[in-house]
């Protein structure tokens, strides 16, 4: 490991300082640590070292060395390499570090390694009795974030369908990550853990995010608000026992005592009926009549599924 660390630092210095892209052969003969290896061993080593650099966040680029694009060389642009200084104060770094220790993402503490790049913080904060796990497969999430920040197109498979998407933003809701982006058919929301075969486009800056895009607005709060069904205003009554629970879900003030009646806008009947039936017989759709009928239809379907 000692040798690897030394060699990779030397490689990075060479790539940052070379005025021209450096070919693999050039690197092999110039950078300390590669010289004595056989062809095969060198290539294996060099591949591993390039991977390591990418994992560190180093923007390693391949560029043609001639106009016929026969030979290629490697380079690291110092301006792209450098972390843009967000100008954090020490108390801001401490606050971020506390948050990063409390939150897990992809099975690890969120971004603690990144905090060192921002200057680290002095230790000393005790254990916080509060934590959050944001779940998620790290590799997909990182690739999507890269595509969002650098405005690269992405290709993936979703529910068996191949899609090309301009990724506008990402949001975390109720334990899951979602991607919001533009497809040929307009803006759509995808659940990240259902995305497979993800490919991030090679070119950056290939689309423009709409001005004043807000991922919050693209994500509707409740599942029954997003849909293409006939939009209706449903009036619902929750019985006393569960009124507080419904109020909490809807983020409204619960009644002091007694049942609660509310009016809700419904654009996805299916999701709405499912949610209402989650209250068993302690909730009732009062209006409109079509929605009442639809609830009853669902109940009958469930009963016929008992045999």
């Amino acid at each position: 490991m000692q040798n690897v660390v030394e060699r990779v630092i030397n490689l990075l210095i060479y790539l940052l300082e070379s005025p021209e892209p450096a070919s693999a052969a050039d690197i092999r003969h110039t950078v300390a640590g590669y010289g004595q290896e056989s062809d095969e061993a060198f290539h294996r080593m060099f591949e591993r070292d390039k991977d390591l650099l990418k994992r560190l966040g180093v923007p390693l680029e391949m560029k043609a060395l001639d106009t016929w694009e026969i030979d290629f060389g490697y380079t690291v642009d110092p301006t792209k390499y450098a972390l843009p200084d967000p100008g954090l104060t020490e108390p801001e770094r401490v606050a971020l570090s506390v948050a990063a220790r409390m939150v897990r993402l992809g099975g690890a503490n969120a971004g603690l390694g990144g905090l060192l790049k921002l200057g680290g913080v002095e230790r000393g904060t005790g254990i916080e009795p509060l934590g959050a796990d944001l779940g998620a497969e790290a590799s997909v999430l990182g690739d999507l974030f890269l595509a969002v920040t650098e405005r690269r197109k992405v290709d993936f498979t979703y529910a068996g369908v191949s899609r090309t998407v301009e990724p506008y933003g990402m949001a975390h809701r109720r334990g899951h990550w979602y991607l919001v982006g533009r497809t040929g058919a307009g803006e759509r929301v995808f659940r990240v853990d259902r995305i497979t075969d993800l490919e991030v486009g090679r070119d950056a800056d290939v689309f423009q995010r709409p001005k004043r895009f807000q991922v919050k607005k693209a994500m509707s709060t409740n599942p029954w608000e997003a849909g293409s069904d006939e939009v209706v205003t449903a009036s619902v009554r929750f019985d006393e026992g569960l009124a507080w629970w419904a109020a909490r879900t809807l983020d409204v003030e619960p009644p002091r005592t007694g049942p609660m009646e509310v009016e809700l806008t419904v654009a996805n009947w299916d999701a709405f009926i499912g949610w209402i039936l989650g209250f068993g017989s302690d909730a009732e759709v009062l209006a409109p009549p079509e929605l009442r009928d639809a609830v009853l239809d669902r109940v009958e379907a469930a009963v016929s599924g008992l045999s």
């Binding site: 967000p86 993402l105 992809g106 890269l146």
Partner: protein, 314 residues
Amino acid sequence: MSSDRTAGRLSRILALIPYVLAKDGAKVSEIIERFDYTEEDLTRDLNTVFFCGLPGYTPGDLMEAYIDGDEVIIDAADYFAKAPRLTPMEALGLMAAGMAIIGSGQGSPDLKTAVDKLTKALLPDAGSAIDVDVSGDSENLSILKSAAADQQVIRIRYRSMGRETETVREIEPWAVVSTLGNWYVQAFCRLVGGERVFRVDRIRDLEVLDERFQRPEAPTEPEIAYTPSEEDVVARIRLETSARWVLDYYPVDVVKETKTGTEIRFSSPDAEIPARLLLRLGGQARLLDGEEVRARVTAIAGALRERYTTGRET
């Protein structure tokens, strides 16, 4: 695994050099704290840096890096004047962590400005392309968090996951955690005399009592997943493909998968939960086995039928 360690070591070195360069030397004790070093590892990394530099690798081409008394000195390393930019996961991780804590109502003003600055630096063209919402009832979260920190006993009115009844219990809260979209409090429950995990949104009321408890030295990781017990009601259900989402949201075992659907086993302390699920699913599920659940669905369906066909009572 060893490449993870190598990456971690390199990343820390590339963060350390610009920090020391910018300050023109720094105290050993400060570096150890700030970069989470042991003195031994710091010495080893500085020795490594000392042997790196520009091709030629004569003393004049190499960086200088050493400990002088109580100071860390690094020189001749202008190419490393800046730290490498954040990896996508580091950047997203920091932003998401900040947003999650702010969203739960526990963020300080410093955290808010920190997240704003990070967002501006990373996404200059769009201020709100990333959003994390783990919001719960922030008032209850605050009370629980401070009670856990101060080791104060709490009395809660709680609606259990499986049983649709409320209980009043005294708990000793150890930690408050959010996972899979819900907030939980990990606690010693005096009612059952053991460790339990409670969902915060199912706590109807809570009251901080004037009594302290002693938190265990090292509480175990909270067990959020539901552990079936022998008295559980068990149902065997066949889900159609369109109802496969159930696997993500309920603690069920997959018995077998076929082309047309999934057969699951659903354990629950009360028939109410699988019964309500079956009602939600309508025709997308079939109950294969489970007398108590069947009876429960029939009973709820009967009650609903009556409500919906007799019209609204007033």
